[in-house]
Symmetry: C2
Subunit: 198 residues, 2 copies
């Protein structure tokens, strides 16, 4: 036979999931086939529906199955504060961790001119239109503390300043619960420089 058996194809396909290697994929395939075929069918249906029907919110650009996501559509969120993140996953992490009641804007990446990712690719024209509406009074820059994330934050900060909007950046320093021994030097240097009086 020219095609590998279906079971081998299934094991190979499971490896498209992040963090799943050959052994885990094998274990998953056997588990579904021997103990949970209903679960496997249910997952297949939701995968198909999700890949087809989940798009992006036209206002904040996060993943959404409706034109406006349920955060943008929520009248109880404060539209004068806008938190700017790189990915929908970052948005969800913030929603789960803290009691933030403002809005979001999802870049879907970060500025990286060498990879051809400019302001347009990460939605900054749309963001500037949002600034122009005159409702946003503060933006919270929550891009990643990487070189590209910082450059992106700086770029957006300049955009906001031109519109007279206040910009804040999430604090950087040693992570809570971490041990100094395992913190990298750059973080430690930054934490010393930005120390605050108690």
């Amino acid at each position: 036979m020219s095609n590998p058996p279906l079971l081998q194809q299934l094991i190979a396909a499971l490896r498209c999931l992040p963090g799943v290697g050959a052994k885990s994929a094998q274990r998953m395939a056997y588990h579904l086939l021997e103990r949970d075929r209903e679960g496997g069918r249910h997952l297949a249906g939701l995968l198909t529906a999700s890949m087809d029907r989940i798009g992006h919110c036209t206002r904040c650009r996060t993943l959404s199955e409706t034109e406006l996501c349920n955060l943008c559509d929520n009248p109880h969120r404060d539209p004068s504060i806008l938190c700017i993140v790189e990915t929908p996953a970052d948005l969800m992490i913030i929603e789960q961790a803290i009691d933030y009641r403002g809005g979001y804007f999802v870049l879907g990446g970060r500025l990286s001119p060498l990879d051809g990712i400019g302001p347009r690719e990460i939605g900054l024209e749309q963001l500037d239109q949002r600034f122009a509406e005159g409702v946003v009074r503060e933006i919270i820059l929550a891009t990643n503390p990487t070189v590209e994330g910082e450059a992106t934050a700086q770029y957006i900060h300049d955009m906001a300043r031109a519109r007279g909007i206040k910009t804040t950046r999430i604090a950087q320093g040693v992570p809570m619960g971490g041990e100094l021994e395992y913190v990298d030097g750059a973080t430690l240097a930054h934490a010393f420089h930005e120390r605050s009086e108690i």
Copy 2:
């Protein structure tokens, strides 16, 4: 809305995979939606096809999409030796690890009278018919070295003896590359008892 959003349903469905908790499921869903929708659709198709079309080989009872699996259908395998395992995953592990050229019989479980799993449930009537064909001359018992696995091995050994078939059991002892310090007492005691001259 009464139904949770599709994204939440997808994350919940991914948790039917073994070893996948809330965090991993979330990461998988975002990864597929943002970077690999094609992979997600491909996986969905293979899941559906596999759950529907993969059944069991009528001869050795392992997972197979054809009536006879490609091991039972292979004329180059020696039909006089039969390795008896608990699950299709065990069969695959043996196939991958060693150069075994005989046949297999998959029990699909182990004797456990309290759970209502008797000889019929693990295919021992079918196995006895196979013994009765007169081709099998040796069985290799590769059930797990657990209480139920041992009881199952003993039961099958008695069946084989009644048919005049030689029985062997895979060796038990300290695992290769392991350290004695981490080996459990029962294994160590068995390894001492079964020591061989060098």
